[in-house]
Amino acid sequence: MERSIFSRVSNNWYYASGGAQQGPIGIDDLKARHAAGQIPADALIWREGMENWKPLNEIPELATSSRLLTGGNPGTPAPAVNPVGDQIYAPPATNPYAGAMGGGLGTKPPTYLWQSIACTILCCLPFGVVGIVYAAKVDGLAASGNMAAALDASNKAKFWCWMSFGATIIIFVLAALGGALSA
């Protein structure tokens, strides 16, 4: 199944490995790790929108891999067994800031919104405005499942925050040096 990053269906996949939840990663990444043997065919998988965790070999989108054809019987229902416990293996919160897992695994990219606003007000440079504009895009893109674009906007907001901050520090240092020399 072809799945572009612009798809409305979420492309944020999580998998259970070694008692910890890994992800989010894209489906291509997931397939690659499965093909490389890092994720066994019976590993529990969850994607945003799915009811609960399922073994990898019972997820139709992932059934294209040849390894899957030998891995288990697609007719049997998913075992309702969580390897560690409901707390850890409950589906991860879609909004990491809403749940107890805030900032942990499976988070959305940070927006850098507060940093952008602070830079805009405190640094007197137009870079902070660019940061705000990018920061404002992050959550919407992440909510629509377009994680690559969300991360890109997040990184750009971060970049312009640092540009604003760094340029201001340089200006202040130069001015302080100039003031000290002329005094």
Binding site: G104, K108, W114, T120, C124, V129, V138, G178, G179
Partner: protein
């Protein structure tokens, strides 16, 4: 730095944006407002940059949280994304910067009120 701010601004640079373009950015007047606050003059501080003075306690809290989360690797301290209200606040700051430069709205400029 505190000595510089408390002094008569020798050594503190003029805003590079304002001195090159003549524009008033959303942060114009913050240094003078901070100086006024250090002298206990809230009225002058508000005249210099009302939005910054109102936002300052709030921004201090969120930035302190972000710095703790970043510096000590404590993600639970992150200030959150702000959601729609945060984005609205961001654009309000940008619009404030635009309005300050419009004719008839000179009272929004530092010392304009």
């Amino acid at each position: 730095m505190a000595a510089l701010v408390r002094g008569n601004f020798r050594g503190l640079p003029p805003c590079p944006l304002h001195s090159t373009t003549g524009l008033y950015c959303p942060g114009c007047g913050v240094t003078r407002a901070t100086r006024a606050l250090m002298h206990g003059d809230l009225v002058t501080a508000l005249q210099m940059n009302m939005v910054a003075i109102i936002l300052m306690p709030f921004l201090a809290i969120v930035m302190a949280r972000e710095i703790i989360a970043w510096g000590w690797q404590r993600p639970e301290w992150r200030a959150g994304t702000g959601g729609r209200w945060g984005i609205g606040l961001g654009f309000a700051v940008i619009i404030y910067g635009i309005l300050r430069n419009l004719p008839g709205l000179e009272f929004l400029r530092p010392g304009g009120a």
